[in-house]
Symmetry: C2
């Protein structure tokens, strides 16, 4: 998650997940790593970017809405989502977006 995702030409989808955690985040890091590993194996997964200070932002990229829906319903991911609500997150917002255009700069 420490690089810029190498996504294909648009259109594709982005899921922007912005969150604020509870002070006690035991188990959070292991879960986040496992979710990245699990997402990587999903059909339509194109990449992920993540950073956290006061707010955490994780953006995952997907080929289409169907692949996002399948990921949301993945059984292990569902358990993580429940633990997220009961334990780790104070609040979060998820935004499903169609990436229409992109451009990049490389030195």
């Amino acid at each position: 998650m420490s690089n810029i995702a190498n996504t294909p030409l648009p259109p594709y989808y982005a899921v922007i997940f912005t969150s604020i955690k509870e002070p006690n985040d035991t188990g959070y890091f292991d879960m986040a790593l496992r979710m990245l590993e699990l997402a990587n194996g999903q059909e339509g997964f194109l990449g992920m970017e993540s950073a956290r200070n006061d707010v955490g932002i994780t953006v995952s990229y997907w080929s289409n809405l169907e692949s996002i829906k399948k990921w949301k319903m993945n059984s292990e991911h569902l358990i993580a989502q429940e633990k997220g609500k009961s334990q780790w997150y104070k609040k979060y917002k998820t935004r499903i977006c169609l990436v229409e255009r992109d451009y990049e700069f490389n030195k």
Copy 2:
């Protein structure tokens, strides 16, 4: 930038700006603060979220494509973009996205 942006009901636009900085980032922090202040005064600006570790992710939210175009062409922002390329950023990727759906959780 230390909270989740309080955006209106979709549809609206998101600009996902993912970057990796050069080691020497003199002046970067002041510029980032000034750009937030400046964006705040722009027509169509809906909010901003930002976090940085190895990768920095800044997501700004906008009413429509026209307001994003005007922001990109803002004269002071143009100067910051140039300094970004010559000094601060090793690489970056900008993605223009239509937010189709969102949902949130609050404890």
